[in-house]
Amino acid sequence: MDLKLGHYNKDGIEVVDVEGEIDVYTAPRLRELLIDLVNKKNYQLVVNMEKVEFLDSTGLGVLVGGLKRVRAHDGSLDLVCTQERILKIFRITGLTKVFGIHDSVDQAITARKAEK
């Protein structure tokens, strides 16, 4: 499965829909999209991973890279993920402590707004 990327703005937060496999082959495209969004001054990001079928450490690296870029502008990068097999990789690497991980895009946005 190839990687499909889409994004839209909701309540001032940029939501990125990711579908397919994020691996060494496709991760560069996600990295480019995140860099592009930050360059265009989107510092509040939610990455929706509900349709991600595969994620490896290359993919984690891109998400961490994105997080660091938005934080440099006091921004945020939250994740939407309920899939156990994807969550497992965040747990193994300890990244559940680093990312806000939510059950839905709405929940992620509400939580982020509440923190402001």
């Binding site: 496999e21 691996d23 060494v24 082959y25 595969f54 490896d56 450490s57 290359t58 984690l60 690296g61 961490v64 890279g65 997080l67 660091k68 870029r69 097999r85 990789i89 193994i92 690497t93 300890g94 990244l95 402590k97 680093v98």
Partner: protein
């Protein structure tokens, strides 16, 4: 069922081929469906790591993935030919969370190894020729083909 071996030049696309083969052979070898995701991920991590090392050090050398099974276990060995000098540092820098506070925008190279170790219930990392081999194994049902 005996050995299947896949060798490939260090291109990211081939990591997908290696994952595909490893998962299919593991299934046929009788590895539980619930473990196949782990096989896919661990083999992918080991191959991604090898591809990156080869692109840096020996882009023309192939990476080797050997799939075997015995009565009890299904084993995957990923062998690279890149100088293993960096391995100790890699094993020392396997914390993904530290990277978040650091200045670089990449995860430390050891994170892939940390993921593998967290997934396969038996992992051995050892020198192999000029390079490194990562052996991972999973339980198989002895009644399978």
């Amino acid at each position: 069922m005996a050995t299947v071996e896949v060798t490939f030049t260090p291109l990211p696309a081939h990591v997908r081929t290696a994952r595909l083969v490893a998962t299919a052979v593991a299934r046929r070898s009788g590895v539980d469906e619930s473990l196949l995701d782990e096989v896919r991920l661990a083999v992918g991590e080991a191959c991604s790591r090898a591809v990156e090392a080869h692109r840096k050090h020996c882009p023309r050398m192939p990476i080797r993935v050997a799939l075997t099974d015995d009565a009890e276990r299904f084993e995957v060995v990923v062998t690279d030919a890149a100088p293993a000098d960096a391995l100790p540092a890699e094993l020392a820098h396997s914390s993904a969370t530290q990277a978040v506070d650091g200045v670089i925008h990449q995860l430390p190279p050891g994170v892939g190894l940390a993921v593998i170790t967290g997934l396969a219930d038996d992992v051995r990392i050892s020198p192999a020729g000029a390079g490194t081999s990562i052996a991972m194994s999973w339980k198989r049902h002895v009644d399978a083909a």
